[in-house]
């Protein structure tokens, strides 16, 4: 009798996507709502959006030097991920996305829906070039003059 009710087990996924930096908060909310609706409609459970804010990208993405990063965390199946990605692909504002499976066999009841988080992102003018002073740990003497490093400046 105890096994009569079998709960559907879902997988845990996360999708990070980049949207163009000049979008207003309203447009970002629209994209968010779209994804949330798809997940909840197709038998998934949406957990949380984290907006990392406008960040400088390491190379130009969609001809822009920065982008708004959005992180979506949800439960669902593989078909659902394909559907989410198909929709992201159709959005002109979304320039890049990547989905990753975090865990298998999750009971949706054990995961709570969390409130969305919004982070500030980079403050303009505070963009350190890649590889700054904090890299000194990998100085040459630490490795006893290993043969690696011939091409280091």
């Amino acid at each position: 009798m105890a096994e009569a009710q079998k709960v559907a087990r879902l997988r845990e996924y996360e999708t990070v996507f980049l949207v163009k930096p000049d979008l207003t908060d309203d447009t970002v909310d629209k994209v968010k709502d779209r994804v949330r609706t798809i997940v909840n409609r197709d038998g998934g459970k949406f957990l949380r959006f984290t907006i990392w804010g406008k960040k400088k990208t390491m190379y130009p993405v969609a001809k822009q030097p920065r982008a708004i990063y959005i992180h979506a965390h949800y439960l669902g199946g593989s078909v659902l991920v394909a559907e989410v990605e198909r929709n992201l692909r159709n959005y002109d504002e979304v320039s890049r996305f990547m989905s990753k499976r975090l865990a298998d066999d999750i009971d949706p009841e054990t995961r709570q829906v969390q409130e969305d988080v919004k982070l500030a992102g980079d403050v303009d003018g505070d963009n350190k070039p890649f590889g700054g002073a904090e890299r000194e740990d990998f100085g040459r003497d630490e490795y006893g003059g290993d043969d690696f490093g011939g091409d280091l400046p």
């Binding site: 990070v16 980049l18 990208t57 390491m58 190379y59 993405v61 982008a67 990063y69 992180h71 890049r96 990547m98 990753k100 890649f130 590889g131 890299r135 740990d137 990998f138 630490e142 490795y143 006893g144 290993d146 690696f148 091409d151 280091l152 400046p153």
Partner: protein, 102 residues
């Protein structure tokens, strides 16, 4: 039988010596480098995460190349994880594919 056993323990001792005292052997020819520890094995809470750009930055050169295991000191398992994370992170433009220098 006894001979075999003593030989075994001999070898073990040798290995211990090599991993052992730091600094003392430094500069006495090749092969006596400082013992490196995999930072992900040392710290059980540290996870390899493609979203964690500040940590991954330690494992690429200023030019954007992945630092080999013999230098970073990672164990094989974690070096594989780090390499994968760096490649994923590059796709999201968190880590550069290459850095052009003048």
């Amino acid at each position: 039988m006894a001979f075999k056993e003593s030989k075994k323990s001999d070898r073990g001792g040798d290995r211990g010596e090599r991993g052992g005292d730091e600094g003392d052997d430094k500069g006495r020819g090749r092969g006596f480098a400082r013992k490196k520890v995999c930072r992900f094995c040392a710290d059980k809470n540290a996870k390899v995460d493609y979203k964690d750009q500040p940590t991954l930055k330690y494992f690429v050169t200023e030019r954007g190349k992945i630092i080999p295991r013999r230098i970073s000191g990672n164990c094989a398992l974690h070096q594989r994880a780090v390499a994968k994370a760096i490649k994923q992170s590059r796709g999201l433009a968190l880590i550069p594919y290459l850095v052009l220098q003048g």
